[in-house]
Symmetry: C2
Subunit: 437 residues, 2 copies
Amino acid sequence: MSPERVEKKKPHVLIIGGGFGGLYAARALKRTPVRVTLIDRRNHHLFQPMLYQVATAALNPSDIAAPIRSVLRNQPNAEVLLGEVESIEPARRRVVLTDGADFTYDYLIVATGARHSYFGHDEWELFAPGLKSIEDALTIRQRVLLAFEKAEREPDPVRRQALLTFVVVGGGPTGVEMAGAVAELRRYALRRDFRRIDPGEATVLLLEGGLRLLPSYPQSLSDKAKLELRRLGVEVRTETLVTNIRPGSVAAAGWTIPSQTIIWAAGNVASPVLRCLEAPLDNAGRAIVEPDCTVPGHPEIFVLGDAALFNHQPGGPLPGICPVAIQMGQFAARSITCDLKGRSRRAFKYWDKGQLSVIGRGRAVADIWKLHFAGFFAWLIWTFVHIFFLIGFRNRILVMIQWAWSYLTFGRGARLITVDSNPVVPAARASGAVRVS
Amino acid sequence: MSPERVEKKKPHVLIIGGGFGGLYAARALKRTPVRVTLIDRRNHHLFQPMLYQVATAALNPSDIAAPIRSVLRNQPNAEVLLGEVESIEPARRRVVLTDGADFTYDYLIVATGARHSYFGHDEWELFAPGLKSIEDALTIRQRVLLAFEKAEREPDPVRRQALLTFVVVGGGPTGVEMAGAVAELRRYALRRDFRRIDPGEATVLLLEGGLRLLPSYPQSLSDKAKLELRRLGVEVRTETLVTNIRPGSVAAAGWTIPSQTIIWAAGNVASPVLRCLEAPLDNAGRAIVEPDCTVPGHPEIFVLGDAALFNHQPGGPLPGICPVAIQMGQFAARSITCDLKGRSRRAFKYWDKGQLSVIGRGRAVADIWKLHFAGFFAWLIWTFVHIFFLIGFRNRILVMIQWAWSYLTFGRGARLITVDSNPVVPAARASGAVRVS
């Protein structure tokens, strides 16, 4: 038998999605005798927790993204394919791509992430883009910067005010980070660049439908976040549910707010490709997984990260954050290795290292091992944790320098308006290998 | 009289275009008692000589671009407006923007640059994008990287070869740089990232219609450039005029070359807005200017850089390179200052500091003060000159680090495929404040 035929006999692990879950699963399989194929519709892995920094012109796209190919370059048993998944056929153990190509598998790892959800109002996306991909971030960056440019040229005071009103919908970590970053952009980076308007006068509104910001954090940190945002000049409105978004205005809790720049950070929905799995889904379209992260009746199909609802640990379902996806990816790889060695699998246990959210320059909140704290120290921890996790040595150095630079000068390095067309991707296209958060 | 009214009485200098000519003119007017308005349809100044590095994934867009606003931040007499010029009315000393706004001027500086010209075949642009703007560079980067991704998945050997054939049309500095950079990308950066194809096997063709590469250089350096490109594995074909470009193939000198990635670097045309000036234009649409860079009969209208044909110096018309634009911009500012002081203007004299073209890693050709040399030393000079000229301290440091990194590792930092749509701008749209080269 030729070496190639032996190679073909190795079990085939197919991974959909090159986000944290998929990538860590692939890497953890490096020494396992399997063939790994990772399919993503983008060529890059994205460090989504820092995406808001691209959207607010502090970082370049490539500072927080790396080609998946490069990350897996030195792993001979892994292959990377650029492609979009059309459907999964669990009965035939087969995955079909939109271009018609198909792949069979022995193990399938579905790490397709989530896109933003408009709660049945997909038409809002055009006026209120969300923040999941590099394209989303560039769209928002373009809109924010263009609003200031247009305001500089707008003689009518009412229209100028609408141009200088920025509304962020949703008070979770992304919304808090975006609101803080826009507030800082207008107060520091743009301060002396205009002649007719004062960017510092721009209004930044953060609207949250629920009772408080950062609902996954303890109450004391929610209060702290609100206070810090107000210090940055952000108007925080809780219990303010958005009821309508039209071109140029938001309606929420009876208010009508004229605004040319609305950013959506309010909800997530998992990839529609999960429907093929014949597994129970929750309201957000996530697969409700077994204690070993597989779907009922299919021990060969793992669902990870934002694509999964894991509810087998005290404290409720696991949140949609990177550490969960990373640990699930490593767990899935370990389970496959156990199978091949004839050992029995264990149940997945999430090791909670805490949560961190940044609010602005030197401001963050941290909830780590029962310690709750806020301010500069939390921000330092945030900075180091995030730089450490950025995949790729090069990115770490460049990001560190850009941050040091931004911090020292209040400037923003990536203030380019370059996207000509409107690359907003309708929510309905969130199929296949969606970016994993 | 209020201070504001005195301010209004100062002569108004209107500058169209924030490239090298326009920006240096604005900066040189810092201490002259005038009001300066700089209009550009982009918000950023672009360091065009390094644009090919963005197109080949070595640098990020914001490494070679800076918001014009930031550059002129500390110049109180200058104002920056984002807008596109529709027409110029020399008789009424008025400029009209596409959005209907209009501005009068006492002095007009037209520094609208050039776009690529397809010699009457504008339909070729769709299949063979050129390289003038950040969008152009991102389009080319996307096509080059996607070609490798598609080739990895293409089972048919003929189609795979067409995907792995890269054709650069035009043997001037841009064409030579692009061909060298693509050749290096395929040989070094991508070498170990694919499993089914060997990127090093990709064909890079450089087609030049004339007798030799780099026609503005001495013959010995043209030969040297050809030799160095061949060492990098580029197939150089001179006297090979392109006669047709269709989706997936180029026809040139009787050859038909199947290629999915064609890059246009063959010709320039100036902005159509110059037609409003009632001045004589050359074949490339440039205004034929007087010895003081103004148009005949209008000493208040200066035309600079790639928008001008200046033919009052021995050695023929000045080439379309940055130093010419910079010196013309400074000259125009000086002439205006002379006028205001009642002194007479002088004629423009270009101080030729030489030419430099890079071919690849450690390879360049230089023609400086009658010295002709090639190789590593020329490349070092190129590197320092270009980093020195990059506007903005921050950019210099980051670019230096990225280069050092690329040089040490052969990697490319900006290998992202992100542009969803096809942002190719038809040549016909090259009006108004086109990017200055």
